[in-house]
Symmetry: C2
Amino acid sequence: MESTRELFQIMTRRFGLLNKNCCTVGGNDITPVQSHILFEVDRQHNPSIQQIAETLGTDITTFSRQVQSLIKMNLIKKTPDPADRRVSTLSLTVEGKYVATTIDQQMNAYLDEIFSFMTEFEKETVLRSIKLMNEAMAKSDNCCRPIIG
Amino acid sequence: MESTRELFQIMTRRFGLLNKNCCTVGGNDITPVQSHILFEVDRQHNPSIQQIAETLGTDITTFSRQVQSLIKMNLIKKTPDPADRRVSTLSLTVEGKYVATTIDQQMNAYLDEIFSFMTEFEKETVLRSIKLMNEAMAKSDNCCRPIIG
DNA sequence: TTCAAATACTTGTATAATGCAAATAATGAA
DNA sequence: TTCATTATTTGCATTATACAAGTATTTGAA
């Protein structure tokens, strides 16, 4: 009998492998970390560097450098916050938006292929379950900010 | 409306954060990569270095060095395969087994806490869904070996 | 049998990622 | 004003990563 952890460990590893092989877009080779950043910058409304770093659970200094390289790749841009000039808000460039969208489509295509091995009912059940998990994780103390200790 | 990819992206990120904060066991600070390796060595029967590297989707040279450091930490051991002396099979040491088990328990405890926000029925549905996903991913061409291109 | 090709793994080397400590810059409260 | 706090960046050391090349062993065809 598989343990709960085993089920999740294997699924998340496989999803990570999909992410790893996804994607080369318009000559840009996007690493999983960069892909995560583009994803979150796209999702959040004018997030600060700190906000994204916290969301992703990375050290802010590491993240600061990741931002720099994404700016060099012309995928995101930094805008000083007029209300607090210590803060930089991040947003996607046109090219960054294109890359983020393409990755999203490619990932959804991969997932669709996986769902093709299920009935429509099973697919709906799975999607509802993932949503349930996300809601429960959001309520949890362990999930998902850095845990002290 | 959240896309399929968004649901999975968020869930796997959160699971990754749990993994990241899990665990310090008996003075050993275990990285997520090391935790994955211990998990797979424990799961597979006398796997070779190549087998695990392939399972985890890492380059074998990187993996070879990860194995070396886990041996230095006295968590796994390498045994030459008598049938083919090019091959080394991996197994957990007593300490490695202890660390792997402790991580497993800790992760299961985290997950239990998350499930405490659901009804028993919802929990069962979620677990069945993850199992369905794993089975479907196993059938998929995209999942989950390195994809050419 | 012999030897070249294939396989399993390791090492050399270069690059990139990571995170702590410290620096810089801006804010806000006393 | 002054000093603690906050947001971000830079210095630095460590670690992870992967390509290329090396070693050791096995395999299979001539």
